[in-house]
Symmetry: C2
Subunit: 307 residues, 2 copies
């Protein structure tokens, strides 16, 4: 492995992807405190919320309040599923949006009740409207189930590349390629990355790994070796997809940051402050820590293991 010594770019998705499936309502001020603790740890890019219909995801009904409570400085974005969501997002002053599709027809159908083509058509009009209204706007496109779909099984690399090509034509700033189920092994990441990098610049490419089978960091190391330096992760490993059975969580930001620091990759994030931010939100949610770097840190601090 010949790791590039570039800084790694961490896109924190915990406040959106991590919290969206929580059933108990989380007060807006708890969300904002979480985001503010993440910022204090040195995280510079955060997907803060989603302008999905409050009927579908009541947890994110406060999207506008969250956006309006954000500090200035870091780069905050919001997921925007459709034109109606965009209208709300624009009203709150959002200038970085994320749109969503998948590499599997069966998945878009079940997840957002559209074909892949319909979802891309939908966000073509979202992007057009957004670009018209926000001159310095930034658009990220998620392409999920890029390795395997819970309904259709393995997804061929060609299917991913086809969707990516169509998405790129819409003039997006960044792609986030998701292993939604967290099942892929580094060899698959190698193969897909090689295919993607034949027509996508590495600066536009970002991976969104889930750690279901403990392979998220191994997959990150693989992608990094090939020149991809942007990775989504979620503080505390919060999240997962409610429509993807067995997907037990995003790569934990703690584990990603530990990996980067130990590898000697410059990273502006303070692991201790990040771990404290995670502990705080986990406590609010009544959850146990699961990020390996967090569990190790707590074990060391408690000295349960004799010195």
């Amino acid at each position: 492995m010949s790791l590039k010594q570039n800084e790694i770019r961490v896109i924190e998705v915990g406040p959106r992807d991590g919290l969206q499936n929580e059933r108990t309502p989380i007060p807006t001020d708890v969300k904002l405190r979480f985001i503010s603790s993440l910022v204090a740890s040195g995280i510079e890019e955060i997907e803060a919320t989603s302008f999905v219909s409050p009927k579908w995801v009541p947890q994110l009904a406060d999207a506008c309040e969250v956006v309006q409570g954000l500090s200035s400085g870091p780069k905050f974005s919001a997921l925007v599923p459709n034109s109606r969501g965009l209208t709300r997002a624009l009203e709150c002053g959002v200038n970085r949006i994320a749109v969503f599709t998948a590499a599997s027809e069966a998945f878009t159908k079940k997840n957002i009740n559209m074909s892949i083509k319909e979802s891309i058509d939908e966000f073509e009009s979202v992007i057009r409207q957004f670009r018209a209204e926000v001159s310095d706007g930034w658009v990220r496109a998620y392409v999920s189930t890029a390795f395997e779909c819970p309904y259709a099984g393995r997804i061929p690399s060609k299917a991913v590349c086809d969707v990516v090509e169509r998405v790129l034509e819409l003039g997006i700033d960044e792609l986030s390629i998701g292993d939604t189920l967290g099942v892929a092994a580094p060899k698959e990441v190698e193969s897909l990355t090689r295919d993607l990098l034949s027509f996508v610049s590495p600066e536009k490419l970002c991976y969104h790994f889930h750690d279901t089978y403990g392979l998220a960091v191994a997959n990150t190391a693989q992608a990094l070796e090939m020149g991809v330096t942007s990775f989504d992760s979620s503080a505390g490993g919060l999240g997962g997809c409610p429509y993807a059975p067995g997907a037990t969580g995003n790569m934990a930001t703690e584990d990603l940051v530990y990996f980067a620091l130990r590898t000697g990759i410059p990273c502006s994030i303070d692991l201790d402050r990040l771990a404290n931010a995670s502990l705080e939100i986990l406590e609010s949610l009544g959850r146990r820590p699961q990020a390996k770097a967090q569990v190790a840190r707590l074990a060391l601090a408690s000295e349960t293991c004799p010195k």
Copy 2:
């Protein structure tokens, strides 16, 4: 990554390394049932117990009973810390032994109260006696703290290579190089592996990774890429070193096997049967599953995530 398509060799260390630190006594028949379930899952090499002094590790006082209760077929080995342990092991008919040293002086001093040289001298006489009595005997040597020591910090690759050279002169069959704290990143594994492979054949080299920071499988992928195909792991991720603060467990065999199977590496181990073997022993110990592949499997089975 250009993965070799060799079979991966899994050396299961759970029954020894996983159980040695359990405070509550585990009945011998529970240990034997665990081992027999592991064998039924397709595991072919198991470190079954340790002939350490029962005064130091009461949990393994039944080493002889365990060895005498083993089936024939799989390759079973036992850790032998000194001549007294070897005498006991030979009386029970052990024909595969493991000896133990470290790359850090501070660690051998604290862990076994010897300098590295003393520990190697000790096992030189152990190996001589063993070879004299067991004509078809097999010897593995552990070199622990190969990346970092809880007392001395980072361990330079040269220190590891020096110890390995001395150990190889004793005519051992296999080395197991340990990331005892589970802190190393793939880049360090790359560097040490390169140095080791300059004078050790890959068939003699085995890694023993801990998953403290979630990097065990990433490190395995790195070593595999470089031609090392033998890895220690522990069913359910049981174990860790009582003298290594923060070392929260071995790489889980489930995670290693999932990685191998998903990568397309032939592996004779049945993941479902293996996971059941782990569940059984975890239940006996009153422990929650922690191997990612196990947690994912249970989540899928319970359908907590809506289909």
